[in-house]
Symmetry: C2
Subunit: 365 residues, 2 copies
């Protein structure tokens, strides 16, 4: 029997509660489908800081590196607002992305039909929305050096962050975007600020060259990132796949996620390059929403984004396409039945907690 | 009689057409109100490149520096897509901002009641919207060095952009935000990414210290810039004044502008520091929309954003508050009467061109 190694990092806030529902799905798949998942579990974020004084321990980093896939909950909370910069909760997530070389962040922004009314946009603009944002995740201003605060004397400090992109980094992320587009509507829109940033100039050139070389069958468009933000708000359905850098991707994917009205439901996948020999790629799956400390521990968090992230894991790490499809359909069915957690509650719907939502999805699966 | 020196830079695309309508208002104010405006005019952007091979000539830069205020149209267009980076149309605007030290960019995002239906957001979310985004305009990644593309050999290039912020830059822009807030709802929301960027850490510290020192009567809130983008889309009316850096300000103000449904109508002001002796501040006023090359020269462009920018000029450069109020009311009245350019056309409204719109506003003024 195949063994599939999963490393679970529930993290802080509502992370553990959401992860609990995924654990049940894993157990079910092992029992009923002989899926062969072997799970181990570690700490990340504030909970790792409390235990080890670091946002993730070396031992857990090793386990993450060894696993077939990492499932990540969420990190952060007011409790750790004043811990030193180097060990703040986010540092654990950033280190995982960097050390696992998870350069490709896939963020679907889809609008669940049952939730179109929850969007702040007019329903006709978001109904049926299905965008895939491909965000570069290991480069740019997130990791470039120097990244410093220097005391200049006279009460003045100088802060510096550095955006760095090399050709190969842009090549590989645009290749992912073009490959993904071929499985969808075959359209890619690349966003940068080439009118202001040199990295935008290079980004534009490399995406254009990669397209010409290997993917000329895909329709490619370029847009300035600020105009891209506008167009997302004006007419989001014009997009299929968007490819952009780490910081613009952070902003644009959050705006896109909020547009859908389904923020609490959106998953993401962060993928590395396929291994030369085995073809396997390192991967981490996490919900787009944060740790929501205000509702943590109350049993009311929405586990759907975490479960949908596990569906992405089935699809991209294990090639279990049918199971992924079934799990996503189970989510949609539960929503269609009017079963809702508090964050997506609507008139006439049935309000449930985290556990009931998890069980409802499992029983549809 | 006071002399008021205006330097007009209509620029490219629809810039000159929009500026034409402001010129009529200036002439009217000189004749009917003895306003004493003295105007001179120059070239910027693609039209300057065509004439001088630079995005703005040295002579025009001198005139801009000497004027009481600069009125700026728009720059760029496909004709100049391939000119060298250093002389691209945007370089003229960026040089003006930098050399005039226009560090404070004021971008009101207001929703004209007559246009609420044009927003992609549900009308109840934008009706009455009135946000003021204060964007830092002379620092950050726009101007930091190094800003280079280097050939690494092996077909690899490396692009670098540098975000730099010093304490004094953050201090002076946050002071502007707090001062403005006092004339409004007395609330400031500061946005950065302190969880990822050192400049975000310093930004947050300096805004907090400036608030504590001098503006503790103003309500201050901090938000991560990605969450800020989300909140703008979810519930924009929660904001009064937003203060943020150059690049986040570029993205967030464009998203906010698009939300209003009034994009073609939004003005902006870019202000320098008050002169130690005279108290005068250098200033440039420009519409938020771009050069719209596709409709240039057709007489159909909407001149309202340019005219509203001139109203900001009356208010901030010349203290002509009553005249500014009257001009803004004239715009609102014309819209209420159902007079519309093509970009804001609605059922039952009267469609007019650039000149008719300008004249309609002038006759209400
Ligand atoms: C938590 C934070 C470091 C992170 C980021 O900025 O990448 C988050 O906003 C995200 O988008 O995953
Ligand atoms: C034209 C461009 C350089 C400019 C900017 O990025 O600042 C524009 O987008 C703006 O917001 O004024």
């Amino acid at each position: 029997m195949t063994t599939r190694n999963l490393f679970l990092l529930p993290g802080d806030g509502i992370g553990p509660e959401a992860m609990g529902e995924v654990r049940k799905i894993i157990a079910y798949m092992n029992e009923e489908m002989s899926a062969g998942f072997v799970t181990d579990e570690g700490l990340v974020g504030g909970s790792a800081y409390d235990a080890h004084g670091a946002a993730i321990s070396e031992a857990d980093m090793q386990k993450a590196l060894a696993a077939d896939a990492v499932l990540f909950g969420a990190v952060g909370g007011p409790k750790w607002d004043d811990v030193p910069y180097e060990v703040r909760p986010e540092a654990g997530l950033l280190r995982l992305r960097k050390d696992l070389e998870l350069f490709a962040n896939l963020r679907p922004a889809i609008c669940y039909p049952a939730l179109a009314a929850a969007s702040s946009l007019k329903p006709e603009l978001v109904e049926g929305l299905d965008i895939l944002i491909i965000r570069e995740l290991t480069g740019g201003v997130y990791f470039g050096e120097p990244k410093t605060i220097t005391d200049l004397g006279n009460g003045q400090k100088r802060a510096i962050d550095t955006q760095v992109y090399d050709t190969y980094e842009i090549e590989r992320i645009s290749a992912v975007a073009f490959e993904m587009a071929r499985t969808r509507q075959n359209r890619v829109c690349s966003m940068e600020k080439r009118n202001v940033m040199k990295s935008g100039v290079l980004w534009n050139q490399v995406v254009t060259a990669t397209h010409k070389d290997k993917y000329s069958d895909v329709k490619l468009e370029h847009m300035l990132a600020d105009a891209g933000g506008m167009q997302l708000v004006r007419a989001p359905k014009q997009f299929d796949v968007i490819v952009t850098d780490n910081l613009f991707g952070d902003m644009l994917s959050d705006v896109a996620a909020m547009l859908t009205g389904s923020l609490g439901m959106l998953p993401s996948a962060s993928l590395g390059a396929p291994d030369g020999k085995t073809g396997k790629r390192k991967a981490l799956y996490e919900p787009v929403h944060g740790s929501a400390p205000d509702i943590a521990g109350k049993g009311i968090a929405n586990p759907i984004a975490m479960i949908a992230s596990f569906a992405m894991c089935l699809r991209y790490s294990f090639g279990m396409v049918k199971e992924a499809d079934n799990l996503e359909t189970a989510i949609a069915n539960v929503l269609d039945k009017g079963i809702r957690t508090a964050d997506i509650m609507a008139e006439g719907a049935k309000k449930v907690g985290t556990i009931e939502m998890g069980e409802a999805i499992l029983s549809e699966f």
